[in-house]
């Protein structure tokens, strides 16, 4: 039983310890050291994860290092890396202190574990390891009352929903007599699934994950937290913790779905058949998409708008999840990758704009397109990609999701999803109308430093490049990774 698959986790832990020690010793005099150390740890973990021999075997009985887990490990390390860079230039601390770095690293560690977990205990542990640092991250700027309020809401909401999830888990453990996911599948097969208690438990578990991926009806925290938290942190939450949440949910569904008899379908063909969890997710998906898009229509502040838009995207992801086919899984992974670049870029730009203009509300964006063509163009590309328009990566992602949905024959589900895309165009284009169509509020041209332009280009280029070319190997890669969840490497 080699410990290879654990290498990324080990590296991250070493990173955390290293940062704490250097920060204590340096006493804030040489802040660059912990930052470079943290970045190095993340990079090393990502590289190590890539190196893991992907097999179906369990590691320590609790982790499964299959292709799916590896991808998410690399994904979360990457997001952590970018988020740290973003805070360097974003509206947050001038130079992020040691505490910030440790929190980010530990959250990333939690995400890696969550993606690879094969046991309910590990699942819950990783879930909490992601949540708790995030609560603190949101409230990092103690002086800012908005950050404090955001973290308060986040911690209360998070604690309640994880409590409910835990209670559900306890029932599942009780009913199935084991905590390992594979064992769970077997137990459910022979009769445990029909217990009414199981239905209640699975819904409660869904509540926990719904909070993590900000799906309706557990989305309330997202707008306030993203608005209150610094843009970089908001980006980190919007992308990384959402991805980890989906990874965990996929693990649970993969374990439970095959053996759960399909329940009757009151809505007649609209929703995919499947166990109570699938149906709850399907309803959740529809509600999340619609609520997310509708909520964003009237927003006047950029971070809050991006918050609602991330809820909408959670809806599309959930839609792919509840269709539950190999195509759907591939689409899910592809969508998350696209979502990473688009959303991080969006939040980065939001951070820059708030830092430069002092405020995030859209009116101040007047004529930005003319005052700084580069930033304007980047935001235009990102927003059009988030809408899902062709020459950009967003279109490929959305196309693959709706392709999967239609492949299973849910025509009207796809149409509702596509129409939601149209509604989203309204508020994305509204931002653009402030950017280009409105008269410039002031003539001061905006200059961006080298690191901002570099980071921005690194995030925006893939959105354009993958929109136009390389689709073949992207789809190929996604198809190899996604279905891995069904077992068999």
């Amino acid at each position: 039983m080699d410990l290879g698959p654990l290498l990324p986790a080990v590296l991250l832990t070493l990173g955390i310890l290293g940062v704490i020690v250097t920060d204590l010793l340096g006493r804030g005099r040489r802040p660059a050291v912990p930052v470079t150390l943290a970045l190095a740890a993340l990079a090393a973990a990502a590289v190590a994860a890539l190196g893991i021999p992907t097999g179906d075997g369990l590691v320590l009985g609790v982790l499964r290092a299959d292709a799916f887990g590896v991808v998410f490990a690399v994904f979360c390390c990457g997001v952590g890396f970018v988020s740290i860079l973003a805070t360097l230039r974003g509206e947050a601390l001038r130079t992020p202190g040691g505490e910030f770095l440790t929190l980010v690293l530990s959250a990333v560690l939690g995400m890696v574990m969550l993606a690879m977990s094969a046991d309910l205990v590990m699942l819950y542990l990783a879930f909490e390891l992601v949540s708790i640092p995030s609560y603190v991250l949101v409230g990092m700027r103690r002086a800012d009352p908005r950050a404090n309020e955001a973290s308060l809401k986040y911690v209360l909401f998070g604690a309640v929903s994880s409590g409910a999830m835990l209670y559900g888990l306890s029932w599942i453990v009780g009913l199935c007599g084991t905590t390992s996911l594979d064992g769970l599948g077997a137990a459910l097969a022979n009769g445990a699934a029909s217990e009414p208690a199981f239905v209640v438990a699975s819904v409660l578990v869904f509540a926990g994950f719904a909070f993590k991926i900000s799906a309706v009806p557990f989305h309330f925290w997202a707008p306030d937290v993203y608005a209150g938290a610094p843009a970089a942190v908001a980006g980190f939450l919007a992308v990384a913790s959402k991805a980890a949440g989906f990874a965990g949910l996929v693990r649970v569904v993969a374990a439970t779905l095959p053996s759960v008899p399909a329940l009757g379908d009151p809505l007649g063909g609209l929703l995919p058949e499947g166990g109570p969890l699938i149906r709850a997710m399907a309803v959740g998906a529809l509600l999340t998409m619609t609520f997310g898009n509708l909520g964003a229509l009237r927003q006047r502040e950029i971070k809050r708008l991006l918050a609602w838009s991330s809820i909408a995207h959670a809806g599309y992801l959930l839609l792919a999840l509840c269709v539950w086919s190999p195509d759907a899984m591939a689409a899910l992974v592809l969508y998350l990758v696209a979502y990473l670049f688009m959303n991080l870029a969006a939040f980065l730009i939001a951070g820059i704009v708030i830092r430069e203009l002092g405020t995030g509300d859209l009116a101040a964006l007047g004529g930005l397109g003319r005052r700084h063509p580069g930033l304007g163009l980047a935001l235009a590309v990102v927003l059009f990609s988030l809408t899902g328009l062709p020459p950009f990566f967003g279109f490929v992602a959305k196309y693959s999701v709706f392709y999967a949905v239609l492949a299973k024959g849910y025509v009207w589900l796809a149409v509702i999803g596509l129409v939601n895309g149209v509604i989203s165009l309204y508020y994305y284009a509204r931002v653009l109308s402030f950017l280009y169509l409105a008269e410039p509020a002031e003539e001061r041209t905006l200059r961006l430093g080298w690191p901002d332009r570099g980071l921005l280009a690194a995030l925006v280029l893939p959105v354009v490049v993958f929109g136009v070319a390389f689709w073949g190997d992207l789809l190929e890669w996604a198809r190899r990774v996604g279905p891995a969840v069904f077992g068999g490497g």
Binding site: L389, V411, G421, V422, A429, S433
Partner: protein, 508 residues
């Protein structure tokens, strides 16, 4: 060769981006001219056989996304050629008309060229996915062109145009995916080529079983009908036209409206011939409403540009009327109306643009007696009006006449009779407008030639070619008709077989 044609504007776009802004308009003009020349060269290289089918030496096919079976497949036949020639010609003329754009000059001409690529791409793409990509790429520049360089309510008009068309294209995407999914090629690999499905449907094999086929056809029809625009989906057109700058109105009316018709003829009707003929009564009904209702509403307008927008709605009703009849003449009329309306409406919008540049308002009731202060302008104006109301000797008449022949011989004969009413109404509102703008005594404000000079050389350079083409197409229609008739006859054969037991007079 075709790729060269589609991506020449992109080269121009890059040139505009790199070179200083003041050269932008020259680059734009040169690129449009190059595109026009290229399209003529393509025309010369196409013999009769090439006009008849897509599988000709000019086609360019390369694997683009192998795992999903999507190809980079450009091909051209008579129908595409006719519309490509129209596109490059109207674009060239609009480039001349864009000569005096000052605001954000570089951005304007870059967006103009991006739009041109999108349009050419739509007409040449033979892969459903590539078609959809170009179909949506075209929306981006239009949003900015209307949104930034438009009139007072430009933001509202731009977003309304974008939302409306996007909603349509979303339904189109759903239908395309359904068709592709339900008909996998050999070995489960997906096939996206349009001619593959056209051949399949022509051989009587239903692409989707009846329930789904009906749904897919309606989705496709709505997606394309919004672009035509058919009657219930037309309300974006007046706003978009009123707010768009003159050259963009010319392109919007001249070319963009033809994409809906082209989509119906290339994709919707050939894919689902049986459903198309079953629903032909409905299609005929909305086209007749479009013709009569459009003419009637146009008569009630006070804004010059909005009037021409509604006249476009009315004239495009003939396209769908021709299609619904399912006869050779009907299809011929539909195609010819697209070409004729392209040049005539571009000319009409230039006419409005000329007077708007001088008077800075478009209120018909405030105009009067322009014929005496601006005689050459009045000549071109009344030429455009009479061409549009279908006076023989000009392309409008041939288009309407052929469509009537088709509609009368087709399934829904009643539609032809009701549409006739539209002809008189069209004549009425054009003559009323002609009298309001050109005749009557000249109000003092329009008298001094300093503020109201007659047409400048540039304006004549825009109007004269359009007028000549309209006249030529009116007197010698065979040149244009021979281009697309083989394809049209093929489609009618398929429609007739699909309708099986075609109740008409069995003609054509």
């Amino acid at each position: 060769m075709l790729s060269l044609l589609v991506f020449t504007p992109i080269a121009g776009l890059l040139a505009c981006w790199v070179l200083p802004a003041r050269h932008a308009r020259a680059i734009n003009l040169v690129t449009c001219a190059a595109a026009l020349v290229l399209s003529v060269v393509v025309w010369q290289r196409m013999d009769a056989a090439a006009l008849g089918s897509l599988a000709n030496p000019l086609a360019e096919r390369a694997a683009w996304i192998p795992p999903v079976g999507i190809e980079y497949y450009l091909a051209i036949d008579g129908v595409s050629l006719a519309l490509v020639l129209l596109t490059t010609f109207v674009a060239f003329v609009s480039a001349i008309a864009s000569w005096r754009v000052e605001k954000l000059e570089r951005g304007y001409h870059m967006m103009f060229l991006l739009l041109l690529t999108g349009m050419l791409g739509v007409f040449l793409a033979e892969d459903l996915f590539l078609f959809y990509i170009f179909w949506e790429v075209m929306l981006l520049p239009m949003y900015f062109l209307i949104g930034i360089w438009g009139g007072p309510r430009r933001q509202y008009a731009a977003i309304k145009f974008f939302l409306y068309t996007l909603a349509g294209s979303v339904l189109l995407l759903a239908a395309i995916i359904l068709v592709v999914l339900k008909n996998p090629g050999e070995g489960g690999r997906l096939v996206w080529a349009i001619d593959h499905y056209t051949a399949l449907a022509a051989s009587g094999h239903a692409l989707l079983e009846s329930g789904l086929a009906g749904l897919a056809f309606v989705f496709m029809f709505i997606g394309f009908a919004i672009k035509v625009p058919c009657w219930p989906f037309h309300t974006w057109l007046p706003d978009a036209h009123v707010e768009a700058p003159t050259p963009i109105s010319m392109i919007l009316a001249g070319v963009l409206l033809k994409m809906g018709g082209y989509g119906l003829i290339r994709i919707a009707y050939p894919f689902f011939p049986a459903t198309a003929m079953d629903l032909s009564t409905w299609v005929a009904a909305i086209s007749v409403i479009a013709i009569v209702y459009g003419a009637f509403v146009a008569m009630g307008q006070t804004d010059f540009k909005r009037l021409i927008a509604y006249s476009s709605v009315s004239h495009m009703g003939f396209v769908t009327l021709g299609l619904a009849s399912g006869t050779d003449e009907g299809l011929n009329g539909a195609m010819y109306m697209m070409l004729a309306h392209g040049t005539i409406s571009a000319m009409l919008f230039m006419v409005v643009g000329v007077i708007y540049d001088r008077a800075h308002h478009r209120d018909l009731d405030r105009f009067g007696g322009l014929a005496w202060t601006m005689p050459r302008y009045a000549m071109f104006g009344s030429f455009a009006f009479f061409a549009s109301l279908g006076l023989p000797g000009m392309s409008g008449f041939i288009a309407e006449f052929t469509t009537f022949l088709g509609a009368f011989a087709g399934v829904d004969r009643w539609a032809a009779f009701v549409a006739l009413l539209g002809v008189v109404l069209t004549a009425a509102y054009y003559l009323i407008t002609l009298q309001k703008v050109y005749l009557g005594d000249t109000p003092a404000v329009y008298k001094d030639p300093k503020h109201y000079p007659d047409l400048t050389a540039r304006e004549v350079a825009v109007l004269a070619p359009l007028a000549l083409v309209t006249l030529y197409m009116g007197l010698v229609p065979s040149t244009a008709m021979d281009l697309y008739m083989d394809v049209a006859r093929g489609l009618t054969r398929t429609l007739a077989q699909a309708a099986s037991g075609f109740p008409g007079l069995g003609l054509g």
